[in-house]
Symmetry: C2
Subunit: 198 residues, 2 copies
Amino acid sequence: MTMRGLALAALGAGMLACSANAQPAPDGPVYENGTDLVLPTNYRSWRFIGAGLGMTYDGERGTQATGPDNPRFTHAFVNPAAYDHFMRTGSWPDGTVFMLEFRASQTEGSINRAGRFATQLTLLEAEVKDSRFPDGWAFYNFGPGSSLARVAKPLAGAQVASCVECHSEHGAVERTFVQFYPHLLEVAREKGTLKPGH
Amino acid sequence: MTMRGLALAALGAGMLACSANAQPAPDGPVYENGTDLVLPTNYRSWRFIGAGLGMTYDGERGTQATGPDNPRFTHAFVNPAAYDHFMRTGSWPDGTVFMLEFRASQTEGSINRAGRFATQLTLLEAEVKDSRFPDGWAFYNFGPGSSLARVAKPLAGAQVASCVECHSEHGAVERTFVQFYPHLLEVAREKGTLKPGH
């Protein structure tokens, strides 16, 4: 090998290591058995996109919020690569993972007098965009906060029919409720990706 | 230069570029004129640590929440390096930046029937840990969401006296209200960094 060849080889090795380091950590869905979703335990380091308190919806059978005396906070997070893509385009890439946590709420704790703040995790759900699903999206339930599943199967049949119907009919962007995420809503407006009527 | 020298120099250049890439982006406070805080415009990509709705506090003069008909959401974010440090230690490093956004809320929007979700940004505040301040912490107000300041001066005198008093007396960890951030509260309990009484 010539001196120049060796120098280039060495530089090349350096650059290779470099570009491997420069790649973003893979943050899309991790599956077992093809479509079972492994709980992304670091989802609280993802991008926070919105909060709600005691939200109920048309046609819902009242399983998610629990009345005025015990309303639940909902916190929605999305993986950073999908968030960055949405900020640029107003749309969701394949590999988007939404995590929706439900937390109990409390008032008059510590120096708080009115209003409510979030306390323990009660339920954790996910929604994933993956073109391998017939529908393009899948829904998962990791169960109660006190005993989260390590892996969840995609909801199927009657378990998921109302999710699919409501997200398809009422999601402001694709199958997601961007109308409840004000920071994303501005981006979708600017990029022209809101569905008609939103 | 020998062949080996050139190869090492080339490899060195590759590694230098590499380690520059591998360094986390600096995410601590950026100042002008020593202590004026530049608005971290990317704070929504930081770590979300907690939400509240319509929260009021002992001794408060009612400037932050606005009554039961128009409660505001509060969303707290912290810079990733400080968050990672807290997860390891239960305490805040110098260079911690809290961003607290206030958002209006709405109900009966889209398919929502009860409960509330967040809408436009109404106010943005910051709290910074920096040992150069006599007090160790400083407070900033970037003003209303419709016209955020690019840079804010540390609050001083009567503007900040009640912030300092309340955060000092009632913060569960140092000068921060970890009692309202359930995910951090678990870590502080485990690490034994909660103040007595919490």
